[in-house]
């Protein structure tokens, strides 16, 4: 028997197995729809995976340019996806995220959080000094309407609830803050420069606005408006900035795996912190909509809410709200 006729006989034998592949594909599709409920389903999926692998290897050699090989490639890829599908425990994953992973990320990002907070504070002081010395520079940070209002002795925050309901104010505020926070993280892609720009700009604006209102004896009223939601809002800005800075450093100083791997690893690791940031910003938005603009709340209540919510944030980031963390302390370098 010649080599060619032997190969032809093998190819014929191979395509005779088509009903087996169809049955295997159908079983795998059923598995994809409903998941493996019994051990026998999982064992059968592995058997099908092996069957398809064996026949695909033969098809690649015997009939490389055929529809049969294409079909087997597709069925094998699908089987690979099904067999390697991880078990899904969404509630446990969420619990573990807040109890173990986020506290671990916060520990790892401590130096970044410290440096970004220092940057924010310095920029705040710079903005204050700048507008205190050159009051006309407020035009760089505030709109003409806002400036005119403050010059008349009115804060733009007063009467906010007469323009829109508290729920509308809340949703607008938290949507805007979440976008800024996500942008501060993503902008780390520009080697950290984008993140530093956003953090610095926000610091400058806060300092400048405080200096401007202080010149018109409105700083106390502005503080009273900000304190309930601002403690956490500013902290979250620093946290998302720290996550962005970690992404930037991963690009500037990649590890052994290369720049791409380092970027991916930093983005996925520090990105977990953003889940906590988003939740905290929704809380800030609700406070800013329902408590901050309402003149019925005295300063001590606002201070209590602000400090209390900040302590809640610390407890959330430490994982204290979800029982004892299983994550080990990082080993010092």
């Amino acid at each position: 028997m010649s080599e060619a006729s032997r190969e032809e006989a093998l190819a014929r034998a191979l395509i005779q197995r088509a009903p087996l592949w169809r049955a295997a594909s159908a079983r795998l599709q059923r598995l994809a729809m409903g998941g493996a409920r019994e051990v026998t389903d999982a064992v059968q999926a592995v058997e099908d995976y092996r069957l398809l692998a064996r026949d695909l290897a033969s098809a690649r050699r015997l009939i490389p340019d055929s529809r049969t090989r294409e079909y087997l490639e597709a069925a094998y890829a699908e089987a690979h996806t099904q067999v390697h599908r991880s078990a899904s425990h969404p509630l446990y994953a969420l619990w573990s995220l807040f109890r173990d992973q986020i506290p671990q990320v916060v520990r790892e990002l401590r130096p970044y959080i410290a440096w970004v907070s220092v940057l924010f504070a310095l920029c705040g002081l710079a903005g204050f000094a700048l507008v205190h010395t050159y009051p006309e520079l407020i035009a760089l940070f505030a709109s003409p309407d806002m400036i005119a209002g403050v010059e008349r002795g009115e804060l733009w925050t007063e009467g906010l609830l007469s323009i829109a309901p508290a729920s509308v104010v809340s949703a607008q505020v938290f949507t805007n803050n979440i976008v800024v926070s996500l942008f501060a993280f993503c902008a780390g892609f520009l080697f950290g420069l984008g993140t530093f720009y956003i953090v610095a700009l926000n610091g400058l604006m806060l300092g400048a606005v405080f200096a401007f209102t202080a010149q018109h004896d409105l700083a106390g009223r502005l503080f009273s408006f900000i304190v309930a939601h601002g403690c956490v809002e500013v902290s979250v800005m620093c946290l998302s900035g720290a996550a962005g800075a970690a992404v930037g450093e991963a690009l500037i100083r990649p590890g052994a795996g290369g720049r791409s791997q380092s970027f991916q690893s930093a983005a996925l690791r520090s990105g977990k912190l953003l889940c906590a940031c988003v939740l905290l910003l929704i809380g800030c938005g609700l406070i800013e909509g329902y408590i901050s603009p309402d003149p019925d709340f005295p300063l001590w209540t606002r201070l209590t809410v602000g400090v209390g919510y900040w302590l809640f944030m610390v407890a959330l980031l430490k994982g204290w709200l979800f029982g004892k963390s299983r994550a080990p302390e990082p080993i010092p370098a």
Binding site: E8, A11, R12, L14, I15, Q16, A18, W21, R22, Q29, Y49, R50, A53, R54, L56, A57, L62, I63, S66, R67, T68, E70, Y71, E73, A74, A75, Y76, A77, E78, H80, T81, H84, R85, S86, P90, A93, I163, A164, P165, A166, S167, V168, A171, V179, L182, F183, F185, C186, A187, F189, V247, S260, F263, Q264, A267, L268, G271, K272, L274
Partner: protein
């Protein structure tokens, strides 16, 4: 372990498997990406607008979709927030719920996979979508498009951050019924099966010509009928001989 290899003009993600046989997944390029995105954009726009129109009409109790002159919390919560959520959270929610697919991706025949070829984790899918803020910069996904054109893996920044790839959905390939006994070789068996599968889609002249050519090669000495039905009958006899 996985690597990227060029297969013709299309790069392919080649994944090592425990069976010793690599899995090959063709990486989708900017064209397939853009097509899937536009389809998804149209779908989410229609869904969001539909919600807005229906909810606004119910709120106003007549066919009027104008917002109330005085801002109202009920209008905001029942009309605006859900339609905005449908539009902005479409990719976040559906990619997780449909395991790396969206309706637009399904129509184009692509899906998102991790480097291992499996469905990406929820964290990876969220990171991929968060980085749309950069990819969509400054307008119309310019950064993302440039990134897919310049990177070897044809990925946007979000994919780089999440370690994901957009690959062609291979589950669409179909295998026709194959005869074995009455044909010269495996390639001819595929031809017979495919011709019968596509018989109705072909023009009568084209299917007669193809059927004659295949039958002439399979059984050169026999005389060929002129009638289309008889030609098909002969092909089906070949098929029956193979599958019996």
């Amino acid at each position: 372990m996985s690597s990227l290899e060029a297969s013709g003009s299309t790069p392919a993600l080649v994944i090592d498997s425990a069976t010793g046989v690599d899995v090959h997944l063709r990486v989708a390029g900017p064209g397939a990406r853009a097509a899937a995105f536009v389809l998804d954009w149209v779908i989410r726009l229609i869904l969001a607008m539909s919600w807005y129109v229906i909810a606004a009409a119910i709120y106003n109790r007549r066919l009027d979709i104008r917002a109330p002159l005085v801002p109202s919390a009920r209008w905001f919560v029942a009309v605006l927030v859900p339609s905005a959520a449908i539009y902005f959270l479409y990719h976040y929610v559906l990619e997780i719920a449909m395991r790396g697919r969206t309706p637009g991706k399904r129509m184009v025949g692509v899906r998102i996979v991790a480097r291992s070829g499996s469905t990406p984790s929820v964290g990876a899918l969220l990171a991929r979508n968060v980085f749309r803020l950069i990819d969509s910069f400054p307008f119309a996904y310019t950064v993302g498009l440039i990134s897919t054109l310049l990177t070897r893996d044809q990925v946007r920044i979000g994919d780089l951050a999440a370690g994901t790839f957009l690959v062609y959905e291979s589950a669409r390939a179909q295998l026709p019924a194959l005869p074995v006994a009455g044909v010269a070789n495996a390639a001819q068996a595929e031809l017979v099966g495919e011709l019968l599968q596509r018989w109705e889609q072909l023009a009568p002249e084209a299917r007669r010509r193809l059927a004659r050519r295949i039958l002439d090669t399979a059984a050169p000495d026999s005389s060929r009928p002129e009638d289309e039905g008889a030609l098909r009958g002969e092909l089906e006899r070949l098929m029956a001989a193979g599958t019996s």
